[in-house]
C-alpha cells in the first residue's frame, strides 16, 4: 500500500485529467452516501423490530436477515440487471401485456445504490442488533415510565445510546461500497475503483491508477476516524451491571404483518430474488463441472489460508497496538480500497521476486495474493479482535507477569484464550470476504487457478449471465455456514441471562 502511495506521487503520468478523477470521485462519494443512508435506516429498523418486538417469523428473521452477507455484491448485480434489463423477459412481458414499463434502470447509480444497499445492510443490522441486545433494560423502563414509548423510545433513547454501533455499521457498509468493483463495473457505474483498474490496464499507468486510489484511502481514513470518534464517549459495560431481560413487545394485528412484510422484503431483496433468478436461469445451461470443482477447491484454499494469515497478522497488530496505536489504524486503511490497488501495488515487488526466484511463479503469486487479501481485509479482522482483546484488563496481564511469564508468554497465556472467540469471528468474516473477492484475484492469480468469483465474472463479462449463476451460487453455499454461525454467535443471549 505504501508502494501505491509512493507511485502516485511520481513517475510517469498519463493523460488522466483531474476532471476525470473528480467525476469518478463524486460518483463514488454519492454512491457511498446513498448506501450509507439507506442501510442505516433499513438496518436499524430491522434490528429494532427484531430485538424489541414479537411478531410471526421474528425468530427466523433474527438470524436470516444477515444472510445477504453470503451473497457477493456482483452476483446481486448480475441477478438484478438481468431481471430488470430493458430488453429482458420481465419488462418486455410487462410492455406487451400491460402496456407500461418500469420507470427505472438498474444499470445506473440509483440501481447500484439499491443493489449495494441490499448487499450491505447486514453490516448495520448486525451491529445494531448487538447494540440493542446489550441495552440496559433499566433505561428503557425509565423511558417508558416517563411517557416515552414505541418509536419514540427508539428515536430518543435507544438510538443515541447505540450511536457508536450505528457509526461502525455504516462505516463498514460505506467502505465496502467504496471498495466494490465487480458490481459497479457490471452496472457501468464509474466509481474510483473502476477508474483504478481502467487507468492501470487501459492507460498502462500505475501512477494514474494510484491517483484514483488516493481518494479512496483518504475516505477510508475519514470513515475510520468517524467510527473511532463516535466511540470515545461511550461507557463500557461495567461488570457490575445487573442484566435483566428486555421487555419484548408483541405487535398488534396491524403492525405485526407490516413488520413481517418489511423483514421479508429485506430478505427477498438481498437474497431470495436475485438468487432465485440466477437459479431459474441455470436450467438452460450446461455447467462445466471439472472447472467449477477446481474453482471450489481454489476458493476454499485461498479463503481458509487467507483467513488464517489475516487473523494471525491482525492479532499480532492488535497485541502490539498498546504501544503503537497508529499501526493498527494505518493497516485498516485498506478496507475501503479495492483489492485491485493492493494487487497492482504488489506486482512491482513481484517482478523483483520473480527475477530472484524464477520457476516459483505459482507459489509466489498465491503468497502475494494472500498478502493482498490481508492488506485489504485487515480492518474487518481487527474490529472483532480488538473488541475481544479489550476484555483483557491490565491487571490480568500483570498477574501473568508476576507469575513469571515473559511479555510474549503473557500474551499467549492470557490474551489469546480470551480472544479466541473474537479470532474465530474475525476468521469467518475474512473467509467470507475472500470467497467474494474479485479484483485482486483477477490480477494476481497464477496459471490454471481460477476462483469461483473469477469464473462468475468472466462469464458475466461475456454476457453469459446464465452460466455466471452457478459459480455465484456455489460461493453462497460455501459462505452460508460461516454466515449462519456468525449471526447466531452475535445473537447470543444477553450477558447475565
Amino acid at each position: 500500500m505504501l508502494g501505491v502511495v509512493g507511485a502516485a506521487l511520481g513517475r510517469d503520468s498519463a493523460d488522466i485529467a483531474v476532471r476525470d478523477i473528480l467525476r469518478y470521485g463524486l460518483t463514488s462519494a454519492w454512491l457511498a452516501l446513498l448506501v450509507g443512508t439507506i442501510t442505516a435506516v433499513v438496518g436499524t429498523l430491522a434490528a429494532w423490530l427484531v430485538v424489541m418486538h414479537r411478531f410471526p417469523g421474528r425468530d427466523l428473521f433474527a438470524w436470516a436477515l444477515a444472510l445477504p452477507l453470503a451473497v457477493p455484491a456482483f452476483a446481486l448485480a448480475y441477478g438484478y440487471a438481468d431481471l430488470f434489463d430493458v430488453a429482458g423477459a420481465l419488462r418486455m412481458g410487462l410492455r406487451d401485456e400491460m402496456g407500461f414499463d418500469l420507470p427505472f434502470e438498474m444499470r445506473s447509480i440509483g440501481g447500484a445504490a439499491f443493489i449495494l444497499s441490499a448487499a450491505f445492510y447486514p453490516y448495520v443490522y448486525l451491529a445494531m442488533r448487538a447494540a440493542f441486545l446489550n441495552q440496559s433494560a433499566n433505561v428503557i423502563e425509565a423511558a417508558n415510565m416517563l411517557g416515552c414509548s414505541g418509536w419514540r423510545v427508539l428515536w430518543r433513547v435507544a438510538l443515541p445510546m447505540a450511536r457508536p454501533a450505528l457509526a461502525a455499521g455504516v462505516a463498514l457498509a460505506a467502505m465496502e461500497t467504496l471498495a466494490d468493483y465487480g458490481a459497479v463495473q457490471f452496472l457501468s457505474v464509474q466509481t474510483l475503483t473502476t477508474g483504478v483498474v481502467r487507468a492501470w490496464s487501459v492507460y498502462g499507468s500505475t501512477a494514474s491508477a494510484a491517483r484514483f486510489a488516493l481518494p479512496l484511502l483518504a475516505a477510508a481514513a475519514l470513515l475510520l476516524w468517524v467510527e473511532r470518534a463516535s466511540r470515545k464517549g461511550r461507557t463500557h459495560e461495567s461488570g457490575k451491571a445487573r442484566w435483566r431481560a428486555l421487555a419484548v413487545q408483541p405487535l398488534g394485528r396491524l403492525a405485526a404483518p407490516l413488520a413481517f412484510a418489511f423483514c421479508l422484503f429485506l430478505l427477498t431483496a438481498g437474497l431470495l430474488l436475485p438468487v432465485g433468478w440466477l437459479v431459474w436461469n441455470l436450467a438452460a445451461t450446461s455447467p462445466d463441472w471439472p472447472r467449477l470443482i477446481g474453482a471450489v477447491r481454489n476458493s476454499l484454499f485461498l479463503g481458509s489460508i487467507g483467513a488464517l494469515l489475516t487473523v494471525a497478522l491482525a492479532t499480532m497488530l492488535a497485541l502490539g497496538t498498546r504501544r503503537l496505536p497508529m499501526a493498527a489504524r494505518l493497516a485498516s486503511l485498506g478496507y475501503a480500497t479495492p483489492g485491485a490497488v493492493m494487487a497492482i501495488g504488489l506486482l512491482a515487488p513481484a517482478g523483483v521476486i520473480w527475477t530472484i526466484a524464477p520457476g516459483s511463479g505459482a507459489a509466489i503469486a498465491i503468497i502475494l495474493l494472500l498478502f493482498a487479501y490481508a492488506a485489504r481485509l485487515m480492518a474487518a479482522a481487527l474490529e472483532p479482535i480488538d473488541a475481544g482483546l479489550a476484555r483483557v484488563t491490565p491487571s490480568m496481564i500483570h498477574a501473568a507477569r508476576t507469575l513469571g511469564r515473559s511479555e510474549t508468554g503473557a500474551a499467549l497465556a492470557v490474551d489469546l484464550p480470551i480472544a479466541r472467540g473474537a479470532m474465530l469471528t474475525a476468521g469467518l468474516i475474512v473467509f467470507i470476504d475472500i470467497l467474494k473477492e474479485l479484483p485482486a484475484t483477477l490480477i494476481l492469480r497464477p496459471f490454471n487457478f481460477d476462483t469461483l468469483a473469477v469464473i462468475a465474472n468472466n462469464y458475466a463479462l461475456d454476457e453469459r449471465l446464465g452460466q455466471a449463476g452457478l459459480p455465484s451460487i456455489l460461493i453462497i453455499i460455501l459462505s452460508l455456514p460461516a454466515v449462519i454461525w456468525l449471526t447466531r454467535r452475535i445473537a447470543q443471549a444477553r450477558p447475565g441471562t
Binding site: 506486482l347 505459482a362 498465491i366
Partner: protein
C-alpha cells in the same frame, strides 16, 4: 506460524503446477473468453502431447501483468480477441518476431504484423444490427451515415472502453483523419438513445425492445444469437437484421483475434506450435462454426451456419494500422463524452 503458512503455500503451489519429468508445456495468456476454445486446447494437447497452462483475463490486464513480470514472465503465447491489445503488447516490447513459413503463408498480410510479431487467425466485423421495420438498408450502408441526424436518439452502443469500439474508431481515424473522425464520434454521442451500458448483445436486444433502431455490434454476437439454442435470442434476430456498412466504399471494418510469442518465452517452440495450430484450417473452421467468427485464411471457407453472413466485402485496412490508433481513439471518445 508464518513459516508454516509459507511452506503450505509453496507446497500447494508446487503441487498445483506439477509436471511429469519431460512433460512438455506451453503457458498461454489469453483474452479470448469463449467456451468453444476448450475443445481446441484439448485437441492440441491430444495431438502434440503438450500441456497448456492457461490464464484468462482481460487483454489490458494481461499486458500489464506481463509488463510487471518482466524478463522472468512465464508467458509463452499471448492471444487476444482484438488487434489493439496485440499492438499495445508489441509497443511494450512484450513480443518476439517469429519466422514461420506456415503462418506467413496462411495468414494474409493485412491481418498480421509485418515483422512477424503477431498473427491474426480469425476475423470479426464490427457492423450494425438494425430494426428491419424502421430502418432501410441504404440508410446504414456507410459508417458515416450513422452519425447523421437521421439517427438522433436511436443508436445503442457499448462503452468506449470496449476494445472493439476503440479499434473501429481507430480505423476511422486512420481512414478519415482525426478531424472527420472526431466529428463522427461527436455525432454518435449525440445520437445515443441511452448512455452506454452492457455488451454488444445487450445493444442488439435493446433494438428488439424498441429502445433504439441501430446498434453497433461484432458480427459473431449476432451470429451466435441467430444460430444458438436460446429461443428468445433467435426471436430477437428475426426482428433485428445484420447490416454491413462500408468504410469509404472499401468494405466493413474487420478486426482480428490473434496472438504473438512472448519475448522471454520459456517454451518458445511449443508456443509457435500452438499459434500455428490456431491458424490451421481445422481450428479456424472450428472457431468459425462454434463462435461465429470468420476465418482469416482465404482458403478456408466459412462453414455453416456462418456462411450466410460471410458474404460481405471486408475492408483491406491492415490491422496494425488501426490498432496503432487506439490511444488516440480513447482520448477522442473520452473528450467527446462517450462513456
Amino acid at each position: 506460524m508464518v513459516a508454516t503458512l509459507m511452506g503450505t503455500a509453496i507446497l500447494a503451489g508446487c503441487s498445483g503446477g506439477e509436471k511429469a519429468a519431460g512433460q512438455q508445456e506451453v503457458n498461454l495468456y489469453t483474452a479470448r473468453h469463449y467456451d468453444s476454445d476448450q475443445a481446441l486446447y484439448d485437441r492440441f494437447t491430444k495431438e502434440t502431447g503438450i500441456k497448456i497452462n492457461r490464464i484468462e483475463g482481460k487483454a489490458d490486464e494481461l499486458v500489464a501483468r506481463m509488463k510487471s513480470e518482466g524478463a522472468n514472465s512465464p508467458a509463452d503465447l499471448f492471444i487476444t480477441a482484438d488487434a489493439g491489445a496485440l499492438w499495445r503488447a508489441q509497443k511494450e516490447g512484450l513480443f518476439q518476431p517469429v519466422k514461420s513459413e506456415t503462418l506467413d503463408a496462411r495468414i494474409p498480410a493485412n491481418l498480421r504484423e509485418p515483422a512477424g510479431n503477431w498473427y491474426g487467425f480469425t476475423r470479426r466485423a464490427r457492423i450494425v444490427a438494425y430494426d428491419a421495420a424502421k430502418v432501410k438498408p441504404e440508410e446504414i450502408d456507410d459508417y458515416a451515415k450513422l452519425a447523421a441526424p437521421r439517427f438522433k436518439g436511436k443508436i445503442c452502443v457499448r462503452s468506449s472502453d470496449s476494445v472493439y469500439n476503440l479499434s473501429l474508431v481507430g480505423a476511422l481515424i486512420e481512414a478519415w483523419g482525426p478531424d472527420k473522425a472526431g466529428q463522427w464520434v461527436k455525432g454518435i454521442v449525440a445520437n445515443m438513445a441511452r448512455p452506454p451500458e452492457g455488451g454488444d448483445r445487450d445493444q442488439i436486444r435493446a433494438v428488439a425492445a424498441g429502445v433504439c433502431e441501430v446498434a453497433l455490434t461484432n458480427s459473431y454476437y449476432y451470429v451466435r444469437m441467430a444460430t444458438g439454442d436460446d429461443a428468445a435470442d433467435r426471436k430477437v434476430t428475426e426482428k433485428v437484421k445484420l447490416g454491413f456498412p462500408s468504410l469509404d466504399g472499401k468494405g466493413a471494418h474487420v478486426n482480428i483475434s490473434g496472438g504473438g510469442i512472448a519475448k522471454n518465452a520459456p517454451n518458445r517452440d511449443n508456443a509457435v506450435k500452438l499459434l500455428e495450430f490456431f491458424a490451421s484450417a481445422d481450428s479456424q473452421k472450428h472457431i468459425s462454426a462454434n463462435n461465429g467468427e470468420f476465418p482469416a485464411s482465404p482458403d478456408v471457407p466459412a462453414p455453416p451456419p456462418v456462411d450466410t453472413y460471410a458474404k460481405f466485402t471486408a475492408n483491406p485496412m491492415s490491422a496494425a494500422a488501426f490498432a496503432a490508433r487506439q490511444p488516440e481513439a480513447q482520448s477522442m471518445m473520452s473528450a467527446a463524452g462517450w462513456r
